[in-house]
Amino acid sequence: MTSLTDISLVTQVAVFGNQKAFDKLVVKYQSLVRKFFLHQTMGDSQLSDDLAQDTFIKAYVNIRQFRGTASFSTWLMRIAYNVFYDYKRKEKSLPQPLLERRGEDTLGAAKSGLQGDFSPPSQGGVGGGSVGVRLDIHSALAILKPDERTCITLQLIEGRPIDEIASITGMPSGTVKSHLSRGKEKLANYLKQNGYERKR
């Protein structure tokens, strides 16, 4: 039923250029897309909204390429994934001081010696590793490599099966499984080290 509604809205946009139909799609999927970016950028809401806006604009411009073989949300998330990785590629080409500043902004309150998105946290993690400190999802995600983070968020937060994650990221299913396995292992260790297990 949901996909039928989506296909109907997509058809109205693609055939008649009906912007109101696209507005409905934006309202419906804005939370999903912004949440995805919020987790990839580890809490940078301004950057997340910019990337989410780019995603919806790209979806609008290329809406005629939607063939309906996958659900609209999978198609949209594939665009979101590409937008994020285009952004990462551009960010790598930025001068170093700018990159460092971006890294500080990104982690915000959760900063704990991290330098940019890709570095592991300092020993002890957020809050100096003391037990009982409130752990933040974004700082936990920061210990993962970007691909692991993407796979983990798509599975654990969005509840997507492995084949859908593979379709969104363009990775083979085996690679997705490896990223999930390594990511979960790192997260489990991180949570234990920060006393999360004892709080359960």
Binding site: S31, I157, L187
Partner: protein
């Protein structure tokens, strides 16, 4: 270190709240639609020059007029009526000869009544062209409205 069941439960619990979280719109969709309106309205039709659009519409109109003229000149409606009559006759003949189809000895005597289709095909093609032109113009009018 291998993951155990407790580790999986620990991770799932940790992400449970984030999974249920919903982000409020707070004007986000309006900003997206405003950006689309400003830069990408009508999916690139604005990108086409005004002259290209006018030529496109004039060509559609020209095709429509030509199709109508040929249809009238060839008395297309009589063709359509005769085709309908042939179609009905064919069905009638089919049902009348149906019992004989099981009699193999009569097969050699059966002659298929083939209608004159060449001209009819032309008329049908014209009708389809007219329908497409009308659909194109209607779509354009809807967009303008």
């Amino acid at each position: 270190m291998a993951m155990n069941e407790n580790d999986n439960i620990l991770i799932e619990q940790f992400f449970r709240e984030a999974a249920q979280q919903q982000i409020e719109d707070n004007g986000f969709s309006e900003r997206v639609m405003a950006a689309i309106d400003a830069d990408y309205s009508l999916q690139g039709e604005k990108a086409k020059s005004g002259m290209t659009l006018i030529f496109q519409r004039l060509w559609t109109l020209f095709c429509l007029v030509v199709a109508v003229m040929v249809f009238v000149a060839m008395q297309g409606w009589t063709m359509l009526l005769s085709y309908a009559a042939v179609f009905v006759t064919n069905i009638e003949v089919f049902f009348r000869t149906l019992p004989t189809m099981f009699d193999l000895s009569l097969l050699g005597d059966m002659t298929a009544s083939t209608p004159m289709v060449t001209l009819l095909e032309v008329v049908l093609a014209l009708v389809i062209l007219m329908a497409l032109s009308i659909a194109g113009l209607t779509r354009w009018v809807i967009r303008q409205v």
